[in-house]
Symmetry: C2
Subunit: 316 residues, 2 copies
Amino acid sequence: MHIVSLAGGIGGARFLRGLRETSPDARITVIGNTGDDITLFGLRVCPDLDTVMYTLGGGINEEQGWGRTKETHVVKEELAAYGVEPQWFGLGDRDFATHIVRSQMLEAGFPLSQITRALCARWQPGVELLPMSDDRCETHVVITDERGRRAVHFQEWWVRLRASVPAESIALVGVDGAKPAPGVLEAIEEADVVILPPSNPVVSIGTILQVPGIREALLPKTVVGVSPIIGGAPVRGMADACLTAIGVETTAQAVLDLYGAELIDGWLVAPEDSGVRLDGVRVVARPILMRDPETGADVAADIARGALDLALELAR
Amino acid sequence: MHIVSLAGGIGGARFLRGLRETSPDARITVIGNTGDDITLFGLRVCPDLDTVMYTLGGGINEEQGWGRTKETHVVKEELAAYGVEPQWFGLGDRDFATHIVRSQMLEAGFPLSQITRALCARWQPGVELLPMSDDRCETHVVITDERGRRAVHFQEWWVRLRASVPAESIALVGVDGAKPAPGVLEAIEEADVVILPPSNPVVSIGTILQVPGIREALLPKTVVGVSPIIGGAPVRGMADACLTAIGVETTAQAVLDLYGAELIDGWLVAPEDSGVRLDGVRVVARPILMRDPETGADVAADIARGALDLALELAR
């Protein structure tokens, strides 16, 4: 069985770990969001690809969900001592090494997809991790703050401002000329089913779907998504701020409508959202919180199983 | 008083610290060797400039003479975990930050001289530190080892091989088209005296003297050097391996002959080398070990004072 999954960062990575656990014999290809990528201190940082790689490779900081476990921050402190900006992005020493290797390979002319494969040779995530594109596309956000109306990199809005300033618009700069990375369309073509984790529908999944050719390739496939919204609130993160920016309500219904019945065949929602409906889409209500609210245990595998079972049923 | 000094790494930096201590009111311009510079992991490393900057700025690892105090090595360990080469060059986390800042500024188009000034704004070394050139010149060494006869970067010969394989020849690649960095010729022109610390006469001082225009600018000036050789052995390091490579004996006499009376006006040698002679050069024999052999105390200031006094006397 070949499963293709699209994924953003923390939530997507945890879901994928569950998916791998529940289907150890499946071939899993992950198409990762690179719209969050940013060049900091001259080094290319790919937060979502790294979160997936570290989470599935056993190197993630479990508490914060991103970055490396047993991390230190000497380089960051030294950069601050030089007065170098930005100081609001948390890069640890272990993480820096990843960005140094990536940047050196980019400088040597390797495409991001090959670099990601080289990095994964160490981490052995148990999935094939592909960037959505080898072409640079970056999410920028138009905001108005004390410095006036301006476009800032997504990370500045998300990390520095913690989305506290409304996003007036969100644009994936560079996507028009971008091509899916080698292997992306082939994996979708070969896939038995496609699973969308509860990643951010605007700046993670939505970004991947904007790469010319990817959405089109997905249309004939059996696609099951897990709602990133439960009872009107994001499962985690600040997806509501992104949805508001594109004029979409923060509900499981609105996100399904956004993806559309053309793309989605099955949609997992939480029990409180069991009223969600869309012609042509099988909506299944079941617990979808990746941590058991009572025990705190990671039940991502259970949810992934639910999504996969639905997809296999619909694909029959 | 304006003193110009040429300098390599560890020995030069310690001498300069003594020079600054003994002449706190003097303006001191240091022309640093950049022939040892190397690009590692895509980052530009300038070992000699950094050793001078850290030593005079209070950040040096006193025991080893290079690198930062209270250093950690997380990034290096992570790079090794990725299998990235080379693993024989010891870069610490604090040091990495310096190279990251430098590389980012180089990428942004700043010349090395401006970058060095920016880095020194943090370290406040109390001297004006100039690279010998903003143009990239790198010392390469021809060796024959198990991989055959080949040219390797100076650092590979010096650090990885510890000069254990004879250097068949030493070349400063790129020097023909190199220009002295802005301020270098002006500083020499304005200098009251020029002091050569006991740095390596081949790959440190010798390298600086190869930059077109620098040696010529020094000829009319009063130049006093401190012999890097005492009783037939280098004061520190492996200068003998470099001297042998260019067919020069490891003696205070031979190094003086190498520099030549055209350049040198005064030459400090150790008491056991009091027989050194060269027409036109005032040779003064006195203790020149920068650490007192009995107490281990740093007496670099005393030696710098000796060199400076001789220079001032000769300049009169």
